[in-house]
Amino acid sequence: MLYRENGQFKTSYAADQQIFPITQDRLAIGLLLLVAFVVMPMAGSEYLFRAVLIPFLILALAALGLNILVGYCGQISLGTGAFMAVGAYAAYNFLVRIDGMPLIVAMLLGGLTATVVGVLFGIPSLRIKGLYLAVATLAAQFFTDWAFLRISWFTNNSTSGSVSVAGLNVFGLPIESPVAKYLFCLTVVCVFALAAKNLTRSATGRQWMAIRDMDVAAAVIGIRPVYAKLTAFAVSSFIVGVAGVLWAFVHLGAWEPAAFSIDRSFQLLFMVIIGGLGSIMGAFFGAAFIVVLPIILDQVPHWFGIPLSTATTSHLVHMIFGALIVFFLIAEPHGLAKLWSIGKQKMRLWPFPH
């Protein structure tokens, strides 16, 4: 009743091609941004920022990057954690070794380094596909795990193997309090989400999707697979690298390679599958789901008075994730994002569906 586009006529191409063509959608997004930028910083507790919102935002960014590769271009990657690690350690080295390096520049340089490494490990994708590529990206994962643990140059010869950053600031504003960290992450995520959305609507994004849907047909109509695949790897690992910088610098503060282990890669892949392959919105849904579910599972038994040990909870989380992955792949391969859009479609006809 309230949600329909009757009477909203488009009079220009710009109006017709905007991201949210329906006024109600634009209002909803505006409201969401208002809540995120203004209400949350005033109302949220420190626990909410530290344990829920900041991890959610950063992992959503990483899932967004991975979704470009897996969801839009159809190239599977099990090495996302590795590209996050490359971004984090590269940014750390730029920050520590160059005096007066601003955080933003270090972050972008970290992303660029991740891009280079990503393209390097993406080269095998030109010859191999699917599960073979999965093994190639696994190689990236194990190699970086080892490199950041054993090659002390990367960690600035830190004796404990763990590195830390302190006194972060952007344009003179310190990023120390949870609220400041939250706002910084939120801004970065918004910028990248907008950029990614526009990129996937552009010629490049359409080339990725053509390669994903049928590479032979795409090549026949004049899309260069080499170019499309490598740009997908580049853009994806850039975003993932930036997410790695945020995860290390803002969320963790001090970290070691285990923060970017293979479990992280799997976790991100699950986010993309549960959230929705080939959807920007899906990355956010998936990240929200995977960040919040363990926290809820931790709480629910307490409400009913059944004490569960942390080990049991983590096994339950494993089982639920596993079952959900299979369930989504069978029932709804496009994930939560598809359910969302089906819901919206139904809303447009409600309450007179005929």
Binding site: L131, V135, W146, H318
Partner: protein, 309 residues
């Protein structure tokens, strides 16, 4: 020279175990075109079941015999793997017929997470030991040829013999029995196999059970050597480069690939490790597989992959 040979033997033994796990991958891939990421989780699950039932069954039934306990535990664990195969086929694979390989791969990733959680919820998450009476003491051989002789673990030797027996048994099963012929037919062409009356669903249950059997044997050998714990599931990831190296569709390839990776890992760790700062065992196998993928994607013995793009 003696030291080199010892390293070589150590690598061969480790490689034999990789081969066992890789075998499970190859069996399932051949018969159903599914790249079974859950093989590692199956190894962990089977080993956990074996370890715990061997402990529980004597308590329930009130007897002491180690042999009987192991035998019963083996039977129960095997039955569990067959049930598992049936459930996986029923609830997952049969619903994903005709999907792309990448979807199936992700589904098995989900299965592996589920199995990891289920196994540890049912059987606990400590380190358990499997005692099937493997000889633990090392043996010296060829004392006449080399000074000081060669030190070889009898346990590894027994493990290698068991692996070899398993491979031989599987080869016989595939070549000589009607079911084996049906399995090969399905591997060759799903549609043709179905059209001459081979029930695909039953074949898939059988092949997952056989893979479960391979997982159980691999789990027992690994478990009695190093104890059963969660890391077993990760060790199994090493089998991925093995199958890439050997070729996804080739049983001999899985064996040879495992041996090459095992030996290469140990030798490179000893002779090259010092240049890189040690610990290159972690990635050696993967990078070797990566290099191989660039030059010869089908592996040593795999069927040639023909792609026009």
């Amino acid at each position: 020279m003696g030291f080199f040979l010892e390293t070589l033997f150590g690598g061969l033994m480790a490689g034999m175990l990789y081969s066992l796990i890789a075998l499970g991958f190859v069996l399932i891939y051949k018969a159903s075109g599914v790249f079974n990421f859950a093989q590692g989780a199956m190894v962990l699950f089977a080993a956990l079941a074996m370890a715990r039932f061997a402990e529980w069954i004597p308590k329930w039934l009130g007897f002491e015999s180690l042999l009987l306990a192991n035998l019963l535990a083996f039977i129960v664990a095997m039955a569990l793997m067959v049930v598992l195969a049936w459930v996986i086929e029923r609830l997952c694979l049969s619903k994903l017929v005709n999907q792309e390989g990448i979807t199936l791969l992700m589904a098995t990733l989900g299965i592996s997470y589920f199995l990891d959680g289920l196994g540890q919820t049912l059987f606990g998450n400590d380190i358990y030991s499997i005692n099937v009476g493997m000889p633990k003491d090392p043996a010296m051989i060829l004392e006449g040829t080399f000074e000081g002789g060669l030190l070889i673990s009898k346990e590894d030797l027994v493990a290698a013999l068991i692996s070899a027996a398993l491979v031989a048994a599987l080869a016989l099963f595939f070549q000589k029995t009607a079911t084996g012929r049906a399995l090969r037919a399905v591997a060759d062409d799903h549609q043709a196999a179905q059209s001459i009356g081979i029930p695909l669903n039953r074949i898939w249950v059988i092949v997952w059970s056989v893979a479960g059997f391979a997982a159980l044997v691999a789990g027992i050998i690994w478990g009695s050597k190093l104890g059963v714990q969660f890391s077993l599931s990760l060790v199994a990831l090493k089998a991925l480069p093995v199958v890439i190296l050997g070729g996804l569709t080739s049983v001999p390839g899985a064996i040879l690939g495992g041996l090459i990776i095992g030996v290469g890992e140990k030798l490179s760790e000893i002779y090259l490790g010092s240049f890189f700062g040690g610990g290159i065992e972690i990635w050696f196998a993967y990078v070797l597989a990566l290099g191989f993928l660039l030059v010869r994607p089908q592996g040593l013995f795999g069927e040639k992959i023909i792609d026009r793009v």
